[in-house]
Symmetry: D3
Subunit: 262 residues, 6 copies
Amino acid sequence: MPQSSVRIADLTWYDFAARVKDDPIVFLPTGSVEQHGPHLPLFTDVILPVAVAEAVAAKLGGLVAPPVTYGYKSQPKSGGGNHFPGTLSLDASVFISLVRNIINELARHGVRKVVLFDGHMENQWFLVEAADLALRDQRAEGVHDLKIVKLGYWEFITKATEAALFPEGMPSWELEHAAVMETSVMLHLRPDLVRVDKIPDHPAASFPPYDVYPFDTTPIPPDGVLSSAKPASAEKGAIVIEQVVPDIAASLAKVFGKPTEA
Amino acid sequence: MPQSSVRIADLTWYDFAARVKDDPIVFLPTGSVEQHGPHLPLFTDVILPVAVAEAVAAKLGGLVAPPVTYGYKSQPKSGGGNHFPGTLSLDASVFISLVRNIINELARHGVRKVVLFDGHMENQWFLVEAADLALRDQRAEGVHDLKIVKLGYWEFITKATEAALFPEGMPSWELEHAAVMETSVMLHLRPDLVRVDKIPDHPAASFPPYDVYPFDTTPIPPDGVLSSAKPASAEKGAIVIEQVVPDIAASLAKVFGKPTEA
Amino acid sequence: MPQSSVRIADLTWYDFAARVKDDPIVFLPTGSVEQHGPHLPLFTDVILPVAVAEAVAAKLGGLVAPPVTYGYKSQPKSGGGNHFPGTLSLDASVFISLVRNIINELARHGVRKVVLFDGHMENQWFLVEAADLALRDQRAEGVHDLKIVKLGYWEFITKATEAALFPEGMPSWELEHAAVMETSVMLHLRPDLVRVDKIPDHPAASFPPYDVYPFDTTPIPPDGVLSSAKPASAEKGAIVIEQVVPDIAASLAKVFGKPTEA
Amino acid sequence: MPQSSVRIADLTWYDFAARVKDDPIVFLPTGSVEQHGPHLPLFTDVILPVAVAEAVAAKLGGLVAPPVTYGYKSQPKSGGGNHFPGTLSLDASVFISLVRNIINELARHGVRKVVLFDGHMENQWFLVEAADLALRDQRAEGVHDLKIVKLGYWEFITKATEAALFPEGMPSWELEHAAVMETSVMLHLRPDLVRVDKIPDHPAASFPPYDVYPFDTTPIPPDGVLSSAKPASAEKGAIVIEQVVPDIAASLAKVFGKPTEA
Amino acid sequence: MPQSSVRIADLTWYDFAARVKDDPIVFLPTGSVEQHGPHLPLFTDVILPVAVAEAVAAKLGGLVAPPVTYGYKSQPKSGGGNHFPGTLSLDASVFISLVRNIINELARHGVRKVVLFDGHMENQWFLVEAADLALRDQRAEGVHDLKIVKLGYWEFITKATEAALFPEGMPSWELEHAAVMETSVMLHLRPDLVRVDKIPDHPAASFPPYDVYPFDTTPIPPDGVLSSAKPASAEKGAIVIEQVVPDIAASLAKVFGKPTEA
Amino acid sequence: MPQSSVRIADLTWYDFAARVKDDPIVFLPTGSVEQHGPHLPLFTDVILPVAVAEAVAAKLGGLVAPPVTYGYKSQPKSGGGNHFPGTLSLDASVFISLVRNIINELARHGVRKVVLFDGHMENQWFLVEAADLALRDQRAEGVHDLKIVKLGYWEFITKATEAALFPEGMPSWELEHAAVMETSVMLHLRPDLVRVDKIPDHPAASFPPYDVYPFDTTPIPPDGVLSSAKPASAEKGAIVIEQVVPDIAASLAKVFGKPTEA
């Protein structure tokens, strides 16, 4: 019965029309096609926010729009860098206008509650701009009650979960690219796509307090993993998911004045 | 073993780098989030070209990039019209720059053979522009050997397959929106997403030889289906797939000077 | 007495102001500077829609704005291709914004009935976008009663006229580039610009069901004419004009609720 | 024999290809659809530069491209202002990109000598930008020998001609909008389009040394004519044409190293 | 006490909020980083309008926004040309959108009286466009009472001041680049930045009535100064300032219905 | 003697040309016009990076370009939010294209070492894009040796300086908006612009792990200061400056292969 799906992709237009009548929260996951080391697939930053967004949406009677799968350019300090093979990134203007356009389209059909649900750190500031411009566009269309939330699911990880992930202390969230957290959640959600034999174990990268363009590749680990992924496990991944999903749902329920369903 | 996947999304960057060394054909499916009547999901125009592209890529040792899932604005005569709930479309400038950017990113990593593999008729002319502009961009980068093919998979349906689909004569390809062909292929590939009980059966739409903006909705069937889908069947869908996949593969093998694998 | 002219170009601003008070239909012909074989001038796609639009406008008390003379890039299957000398084409973004801007200017002065009157097949989808964006612009200006019709005059050719043009059966409208229809109408309207001694006669072009960029010139006839123009005659041109002008006028009279004058 | 025409519009592509082999000067007239008082048509700023450009081109073996007929927004001090009915103007971005695109297209076909031949004062600075950006575009295409001249034909009027036009002294070139010079040349070239009975005679407008937006219409003469046109005559128009045509031709012959033919 | 400053830069947001309540005139100086010969600094076109605007603002209880310091491309006839070292200029689209954006931001905070206060002749037409587009943007935001004045301070120099500057007759305002007027005012306002020993003295440049791109540098004086600056003096500079400041203030007081304070 | 100035603004073009011959590092400070509480001026984010950049440039024989004074939109968590009066911000597209354009202009004159020297946290990601696009532009111009560094001067504050600033422990760098560090450095550099009597002292703001658009102003302190500025002092400001200036100079000397002068 696709009509109960949280995925807009699965619905017919009759389903969509019926669901939008209830003023649902609509989630737009945003990710990237980005290197994630020798052990994780290029779609890691899409798979994770889509999975989390769908779980959160299910709790809130929400809908999940087809994700924005190409993201902003990977940077050395947070993603290894755009030069790694397979990293397919968008110019800021393209990413911003794509997200802005999708928000406007949702609003055109009556959606008033949108969550930009990010899985790729480099997207964050461009999502800010897309939200601001879409609100401007909607004002010109006479729509004044659109509300947009922007979040990265990892920002909801509590200190307790952090301790479970890193019993010996956490390096830094920025260096968590393709490392313990992402690998653990992938092992939990999509073990078929993790090359367990290739999980890297090397010291965390160390960067100077400035950035060089074209990239200075000296401080970037050759495998693109910014800190060791060795301590990752499916159990840790489950801990993350079981904590962040209800916490994000609770936050959004409050922001949007919605009951949570589960 | 994801490394044998045709999907770029499933690969690690090491896989991608290894595969690109062989100068593969890379497919970029382009679709839409568009009403497809009471019986087909909004993602029909994504599901179909992705499935066909993956099958063709498998025969050619190619790769399939994550699809462009939002397409150009649905028009009454070919898709029912952009006003139907759930139809989420892009402005021409956004769609063109998105496709152009992805082509440029593939080229940056060494890809020289790209297929814009369309599943949504309204995208066609904007794909032309994206291809032209990407070639210009690449010239400025000193790349002169990029070759791009644009196609709609339905254009490869032979007269014989047409006769199998429409034993009593075909109405028109433009009116085939959410009708016999698309419904049949969906029944073949994703029967879980087809509402068999809602397959419509009404006369084909009839349009005047001009277009009115804002849309004149008078000639548009209220369910958004442009001609009867009743004669659809999974068997007919199988016939389409079994014919077009090898035919497209053969054409592309010739265009790009590649052997077909199967 | 220029004030009775259908051409905006010929009017003074007093004339224009007086005419716009009657809420006239304003025609914007759109063409191209495009090769039309060895026998027709580069302006064929401007000359024809301007002539037809002026004749239609005369019947409806309408006005004809100065034409958009540069059009979208010529394609092999419909126009021979952009590489032919003398073909001067616009990027999609330029063409769209030009047409959008002109519509907005007409609306600024009070025009509410606009016809995008096309003479170049490649323009069609970009006219769709221009119309959609101009309607959006006008909504932001508080204008909600602008109505835009888009048409290609050749779409109004009836089966009867088709039979007169092609007594032995018609090849395809797409292959009619610089062929029987266009040559006939040029012989009827502007014989001074037709090189009768150079009218080509060769088999129709045959194209594969895909497009290659940069163009594969193999299937393109070297003279740029997509099917034989030999059977063209001024008489046939007269038949076309005498049929399409009243028919287009009748259609527009109905769409816009206007009486026809002749 | 259209092949001897200076108008690109009249040529076949074979003619164009043959002519471009001689490295001709190609003229792009740029005008506007702009109010010119109660006596001159809205197309005055197109008719005049086209006529002068064609005469100059004839002397230099040059070609004239189809004119850019919509221009930049009319300003009170030089054109009366954009608010006058019938004045249809382009945004700067549209005008610039249109001219830039046409220059690039000419260059694509091998043209290396371009004259932006202006008939509308408000276009001047945007022509500068179009030329600069087209040169940048051409550098990216590897073209380094494109040369562009920008001129307004009125800038070539000598003191002697000025004295003939204004025996009692000239007010100012900026206030010459729809006044003695333009009216005289129209009377010489296109008397059929001049309403002789409506030629205005009132004192010249007087403007403060600043501009107000939205326009302050107080200092603008209600008929849009900035100074008296009464002294205009066809004879004066002939004097202008007979002086500027050879002078412009001589200048361009020198700039481009071309012989003049007459 | 910064709160009494005319400079927005010096205010706290509390100061700004308090000042805007009085509906002040807000000045946006626009200049350039442009060669000004061997004796004047690259910032001459910023220093001068900022100083004049601050003096005028002080008389009107106005505020001065941080200046737009990069301007449109220097042209041979008015600024020597963009090729001179140190001339850092903006593309038209960047300059226009920057000014437009700042106007919109002022309007967002309640400002309704804006003066674009120019110090660089090449900016003028692009300021026109920025003003027009900002008014359009504000209409879409529902703001209909924004008024914008555009001026170049030099346009207010009276015949009497002109006579004081050029006792022997004035060459032309366009050739006044880095010459008597600008040098005099710099000597008056910022003598520390004038290299008195390098003040040039050579005949005025003479240009043909057309422009060539890329620039024909033949007629451009090698030092970038368009006419002699020799007669410059601090006294003449004081005369200019003492005349134009009250005159501009008086004009603006009238335009905006404001009392002058001094 | 302006020729020894680090400020490009103060140089003549002869000075600039001479200095660029030595392949200097050119600094482009980027700031904002942004609320900084009741005690600091709107120009704080311009004053600080300009001062630091000039000090660093002096040590490296570098030059400082006129700063980009308008920045990206202030956000609640890092700057209080764009809604505060006096905060004048740019759209992402405008900010990016402005910085990109200035970099391109520097490169046009031969500069190959550029430092984007940021004083406003919200600018950071848009500087990344500007750098990336300018490098692309330069490749199209045939320039392949341009190197760009992007930095925020605060990122160079060492743990030791941090301890001096916050003897009782630091809250968070993001909450340092208009707080101890910025106030201290302003007290050190521009005490005339600090309202000492208004330095706020209230608990640090606390934000949820998501962002709401339009802003949820609940968690934002009404004065716009994100944590207490009370402990600020000119001495602390001096400590910051004396540490970061040589450290940044040393880093850049290494990156660009330049000796430090002091």
